[in-house]
Structure formats: structure tokens, C-alpha cells
Symmetry: C2
Subunit: 223 residues, 2 copies
């Protein structure tokens, strides 16, 4: 396995923090700055992964035991790393990924109570040890985030998935999990307050990313 | 997790050894002897597993990286153990399963070259450590077995799956893998020569199983 030459940036956090919007903004801003970007997400970053995403997230699909849910997430990740992420990094691209291994630890580990050490071993197997260079954690109160998602659902802008529908206690454990992971790896994590205006969040992320990725000096703002 | 009270019997081996036929025979014979039997298979022993089985085995589905294939097999197994096998064992049934963890070690490990120690850790996570009480290995020359499968395919009796279509060297490594696993756990494995007549194989398996499972003294033969 050759060492990646690009940069690998992941976005993590509880529901409703505007994560996917920020992934879009950062990817566009990097492209406008002349950087080759591969924007992707988990689960669902490959054709096989799209099928797995439906099995994992569509509410009326058969219920999954917690270890099975974790293993499907990791199968999606193994295929994604092999088929997409490693080749993109090897070609020098910046990969911007909406959720990665920290989500499995936060949701299936801290949230569902699956043993963390075992999960870490399964993740290492799935990824061959590939870690992000930078992880942006968009943190916010879970009630605020879930209410944002419910409002978007009522407005017909997005459907609530199976994990959104879990109870508030579950989502509190997930948020605490992300915060714990960030404290354990402060050099990799960049934590942003998700209750700020999107433009402000976008600028803070951009400042952090441009310490990692070389960009042209003058870049237009998107927001 | 409560200790299983039933008995867990798995069938393993390379292609074309008549494994599925013997699973049917043993299950029927046990039922006729008054034993409560749950007959199942991997992958595909649950509704979720049926979807995974198609992703794993249908030849025109997207190609899978070896770790992704192994993780999907283990996701299927985790769901199967949780939803089907443990509850059946807890209720005192004899579970007869066509392929289980040894197949993952033989095919994805010995066959595809996925690291065996990592695979064993992922399998332990998926199963919560559940091991068969008895594993019947129906062993035979892989060229003989593959030719049987091709003949059945030409006769329209069954379709060749994605794994059947791999080359002979791969299948040789799988067979060697099964033999190695059997040598490592001789108390669990019962190895049968798959080139013998099916009735003879069935009788040998029955003799071995009735040392594990209490049956009525007189039982009719099916073959």
C-alpha cells in the first residue's frame, strides 16, 4: 500500500449541525482555489455503498442488531477506502468526506453501546489504518440539531432517517462520544460551534484548512 | 448473553461436495428422530442477509474489495447469530447451518489473502464468540467439485455464483485452508470424504451427530 500524497479531510458531528452544507462549501471553495477535490460521504460513497446506505438508514428496512449495523458501516468504509479514497489521495487530490470512522465510534460505540476496542479493531481492518489528516467536528446541542432536522422534514426538504429517529438520550451519548474523541486527538480534530451562522463556520473551517492545504492567495468567498 | 442450551452444527467445505444436500438430509433425519431443528445457511439466513447474499454472490453485482467482502460476510453473520441462531439455541433447538465462520477464514482469509488474525477478531466481534459444537467438513478435490457444479449449471439445476467462478488456484487455497482449520481444532471438526456416495456420507455424519444429540433409538433412513 503506497502512502497517500493528497490530504484527507473528514466532517463529523451530531445531526442538524449543517455538516453537509459545510462539506459542499469547503469543496467548492477549494476548487475555486485551484485544488483538485474529491467530495464524498459515508455511508454510500460507492455503488455498493449506496445499497448499504439504504439498508442502514431507510426507516422501514429490517431492523439490524448493533454489531451488524457496525459491520455494515465498516464494509461500506472498506469498499470506499479501497475504490475511492486511497486512489484519490494517491493521485494527490484533497478528499473531503461527510462522516468517516469517528461516526462509527460515536453512533455504534458511544450511542449503541458496542464495545469500543472491538470497533476500533474492525475499523482498522476496514481502513487499513487510513486516518484523516483533519477532522472538522461541528458540535451543537442535540435538541437544537434534531429540531432543525424535523423542521426540514416538515418543510419537505429532507427525510428523517432511521438514526435521526432514535431518542434524545441516544443522540446525547453520540454527541458526548464525538467530544470525547476530539479530546483524545486534539491535533487531528478542529471543533466548531454549529449554532453560529453558516458563513462564520465556513470561514473558520477555511482558515484551518488553508494551514493544511496550499491554495492560491486570493480566493473568492462563496457565502 | 445466556449460554446456549441447544446444539450448533455447521457444514463446511469447498464447492461441489454435496454440502447442501447433506444439510437437508441431516435436518430431516433429526426431525424424524424427534429433535427440534432449525435449518439455515450463510450468507442469507435473515431478510437482511438475503440482500447481502445477492450483493456477495450474484456475478454481475459490483466488485468488492477483499476486506469489504469479509465485512459483509461478517455483518450477515452478526445479524444471523443475533436474530436466529442464539434464540434457536436458547430455546433448545439443534441449529444446522450451511457454512459459518470457517468459510470466511477459508475463502476470504486463505483464498483471498486477508490477514487471518484480523479476520478472527472481526468474526469474534460478529458472533460474540459463538462457536459450533460440531463442524462437518466435506472435503474433496476442487477440480472434481467444480466440475460437478459446472455440470449442474449446464443442466440448468443451479447457477454458478461469483465465488464458484474464481480460478482453480483460489479454490485450492480454500480447500487447504479448510484442512488447516480442521487440523487446528480436531475436537470440533468431523472430516468426510466428499467423493463417497451420498448415502454413505449421510450415514457417517449421522453416526457422529448422534454422539452429540440425543435421538430416539430407532430412526428411519432417508436415503
Amino acid at each position: 500500500m503506497s502512502a497517500p500524497v493528497g490530504r484527507f479531510i473528514t466532517f463529523e458531528g451530531p445531526e442538524g449541525g449543517g455538516k453537509s452544507t459545510q462539506v459542499d462549501h469547503l469543496s467548492q471553495r477549494l476548487e475555486q482555489a485551484g485544488v483538485l477535490v474529491y467530495q464524498t460521504r459515508e455511508p454510500g460513497g460507492t455503488p455498493v455503498g449506496a445499497e448499504l446506505r439504504a439498508m442502514l438508514l431507510v426507516p422501514d428496512r429490517p431492523a439490524l442488531a448493533p454489531p451488524a449495523e457496525a459491520l455494515l458501516m465498516c464494509a461500506d468504509r472498506a469498499q470506499h477506502v479501497s475504490e475511492v479514497i486511497r486512489p484519490a489521495l494517491a493521485s494527490g487530490m484533497v478528499v473531503v468526506c461527510d462522516r468517516y470512522a469517528d461516526s462509527t465510534l460515536a453512533y455504534q460505540g458511544f450511542g449503541s453501546g458496542v464495545d469500543l476496542a472491538s470497533l476500533e479493531a474492525v475499523i482498522a481492518f476496514a481502513t487499513g489504518g487510513l486516518q484523516p489528516d483533519l477532522t472538522v467536528l461541528i458540535d451543537l446541542d442535540v435538541r437544537v440539531g434534531l429540531e432543525r432536522k424535523r423542521a426540514a422534514s416538515r418543510a419537505g426538504k429532507e427525510d428523517l432517517n432511521r438514526i435521526d429517529l432514535r431518542d434524545v438520550d441516544y443522540h446525547e451519548r453520540v454527541r458526548d462520544g464525538f467530544q470525547t474523541l476530539a479530546r483524545r486527538a486534539p491535533e487531528r480534530f478542529f471543533v466548531v460551534d454549529g449554532t453560529q451562522p453558516p458563513e462564520s463556520i465556513s470561514d473558520q473551517i477555511w482558515d484551518r484548512v488553508t494551514r493544511l492545504v496550499a491554495v492560491r492567495a486570493e480566493t473568492p468567498r462563496l457565502l
